[in-house]
């Protein structure tokens, strides 16, 4: 086991998978120098045919990734900030997501998209958004939101080996977090959640960067004998419904904690699942703790006010358990 950051985990996963399969290649904005470090050094190992800086033209290069996948290669396509997906919505939602189905199963679309999402301090609304909910209802995409370095490595490797379009969302504030990663060819399957902290009184389903926050809140509440189970679904599509529902069956209370917006968001989607399929387990309403339905603001106090927070999560849990 070696101590590795979230960003280094990405780099390791990319390097290992590119080593493993010569039909994989990396393309995207600044992948040669690598602004955040995820693709650093790949150019030296794999050369310019397989590590390609694209123009800042998302519709063009995301669409090219779709074509490259249809024609038998396995592109790993970096869209620097996830909000830039808006410039390539057709290519992701009409093309990548739908062409297998529309072709009656002829097209295979092994594309891994990587993008940084979430608030990382003063980046303002166009570089801070949590955008995975926008892709939840498209049908045909897999959505991965790793919350720690080991999950990042194992999930990203699985995503690259998957024959479908997968978007791996990387939280901008997790990049430097260090963790021990299992040695060897470490894979985490898509669709299997993780119990990040076992507990008895309330289930918190936390997504992405909210997972370490939820664990901190759970640690604090343990001192007041409130036992919180933190579930990390790790992938939103496919979703590990069974893990979420069996946790709620045990705790009888659920909070969904997400940095995305409330309306039409991932928290709303998971809360509806619990309400519909876990209704008989519940002793109270499913609570959703999310960011406010405002664009994420620039100035620090405003940004803080907009974002989902540990304070609000703790309040929601206390209210549910009545303590």
């Amino acid at each position: 086991m070696a101590v590795t950051t979230y960003i280094q985990a990405i780099n390791q996963a990319l390097s290992e998978e590119m080593e493993r399969d010569p039909l994989t290649f990396v393309m995207g904005e600044d992948v040669v120098l690598s602004a955040f470090g995820a693709t650093k050094g790949l150019i030296d190992k794999f050369g310019p045919t397989r590590v390609r800086n694209t123009p800042i033209a998302e519709a063009g290069f995301v669409g090219a990734a779709v074509g490259a996948a249809m024609a038998g290669t396995r592109p790993i396509c970096e869209v620097e900030f996830a909000s830039f997906f808006y410039c390539a919505f057709d290519q992701v939602c009409n093309q990548a997501a739908k062409l297998r189905y529309m072709s009656g199963g002829q097209a295979k679309l092994p594309i891994t998209f990587r993008a940084v999402y979430g608030a990382m301090g003063g980046a303002a609304a166009q570089h801070s958004e949590t955008v995975y909910a926008q892709f939840l209802s498209v049908a045909g995409l897999k959505l991965v939101v790793p919350s720690c370095a080991s999950d990042m490595k194992g999930l990203l490797k699985s995503a690259i080996r998957d024959d479908n379009p997968v978007i791996v969302f990387e939280h901008g504030a997790l990049g430097g977090r260090r963790e021990e990663i299992p040695a060897g060819d470490y894979l985490v399957p898509l669709g299997k959640g993780a119990i990040k902290r076992p507990g008895e009184n309330v289930t918190v389903v936390a997504i992405g960067a909210m997972v370490p926050q939820a664990i901190r809140v759970a640690d604090r509440l343990a001192k007041d004998n409130i036992s919180v189970e933190v579930i990390d679904p790790r992938t939103l599509i496919p979703l590990d419904e069974e893990m979420i529902l069996s946790s709620v069956e045990k705790t009888n209370r659920a909070v969904v904690y997400d940095e995305g917006h409330l309306r039409g968001g991932a928290a709303t989607d998971i809360a509806a699942l619990i309400g519909e399929k876990g209704f008989d387990f519940l002793d109270g309403p499913v609570r959703r703790v999310t960011s406010l339905d405002v664009p994420i603001p620039f100035s620090p106090p405003l940004e803080k006010a907009a974002l989902a927070s540990e304070v609000r999560l703790e309040a929601a849990i206390r209210e549910l358990v009545g303590r």
Partner: protein, 325 residues
């Protein structure tokens, strides 16, 4: 360019298959035997045929909402196309795509596409795949004058040019984007001049002359295969039929072009021009052309029978093929 008899007959067969297929589709759609929207390409047979005749079997194409002709020219089977357009399980896409979305990966047909301009980045990526995989396959990308105003046109030409990708961009300029005259929404008279902005060759081609299309396409394909990058070909052509079959229902009494304009273009019919060439060159007899027409009519009748008699999909198939398992 002195072409052999086999390829000339192949091109005539391709144009005939397109013409007869499209006319039949128009009639079946008018008779409400086909669900959804259909867009036919009568009058545009030469551009599809001339380009595809210059491609190898392993080369790939991308197409458009008006795609039947491209698919036929690349070797598409009329029976499976017809079945798809009828929404049958035996269709190319098991009834999940329909007229605007026919795909045959075995023939290098990456698909028609319902979104204008969507094929350009896909073709560019298909060409990129050839480079990454170390193959010398070329991709030809069909699109219309309307798509040349999409951002994806400009992004794709730039990307293909900067990476010197083996792709040929084939703009079929038929003068209209839906019901809007191209000249009213396009800054240039000739789409081909847009190639200059990306430092690639651009040529204006008589899109109704299959031999001229073949000549330009062969040169562009050879150039692409040799690693010298993309070319933009603008095939000037015209669609005899409306944008969509049954468009009078939307337009009412309004019209967007004159009868005279349509008649003038009909005089430039790609098939009549080929007949004339055949007669003048003495290479092909009228009897040979007539036999191809008869054979195609029989092929088409069999295709319609196949489509009519094929089963509809079972409702249980609705969740199949969302993901590759």
């Amino acid at each position: 360019m002195d072409l052999g008899k086999d390829i000339l007959l192949d091109m005539y067969r391709s144009m005939t298959r397109i013409r007869l297929f499209e006319a039949k589709i128009r009639d079946l759609a008018t008779a409400n035997e086909i669900p959804g929207f259909v867009h036919v390409s009568i009058g545009e047979e030469a551009s599809a045929t001339g380009v595809c005749a210059a491609l190898r079997k392993t080369d790939r194409i991308t197409s458009t909402h008006r795609g039947h002709g491209h698919l036929i020219a690349k070797g598409g089977r009329l029976d499976r196309m017809m079945a798809e357009i009828f929404g049958k399980r035996t269709g190319y896409c098991k009834g999940k795509g329909g007229s605007m979305h026919i795909v045959d990966f075995a023939l290098g047909i990456l698909g028609a596409n319902g979104i204008v301009g969507a094929g350009l980045p896909i073709a560019t990526g298909s060409a990129l795949a050839a480079v990454v995989a170390g193959k010398d396959d070329v991709t030809a990308c069909f699109f219309g004058d309307g798509a040349s105003n999409e951002g994806t046109f400009h992004e794709s030409l730039n990307l293909a040019a900067v990476w010197k990708l083996p792709v040929v961009f084939v703009c079929e300029n038929n003068g209209f984007g839906e019901f809007t005259p191209m000249s009213t929404v396009t800054s240039v008279k000739d789409i081909a001049v847009r190639a200059q902005a990306y430092d690639i060759p651009g040529h204006i081609v008589d899109g109704n002359d299959v031999l001229e299309v073949y000549r330009y396409a062969s040169e562009a394909i050879a150039r692409a295969r040799a690693g010298q990058g993309p070319t933009l070909l603008e095939c000037k052509t015209y669609r005899w039929e409306g944008h969509v079959v049954g468009e009078q229902a939307f337009l009412g009494a309004a019209s967007y072009r004159t009868e005279q304009e349509v008649s003038e273009w009909k005089l430039r019919c790609p098939l009549i021009r080929f007949d004339k060439f055949a007669a003048e060159s003495g290479k092909i007899s009228a009897a040979e052309l007539a036999r191809i027409k008869t054979e195609t009519e029989a092929e088409l009748e069999a295709a319609i029978k196949f489509a009519r008699e094929s089963p509809l999909p079972d409702a249980a198939e609705v969740t199949d093929d969302v993901f590759t398992e």
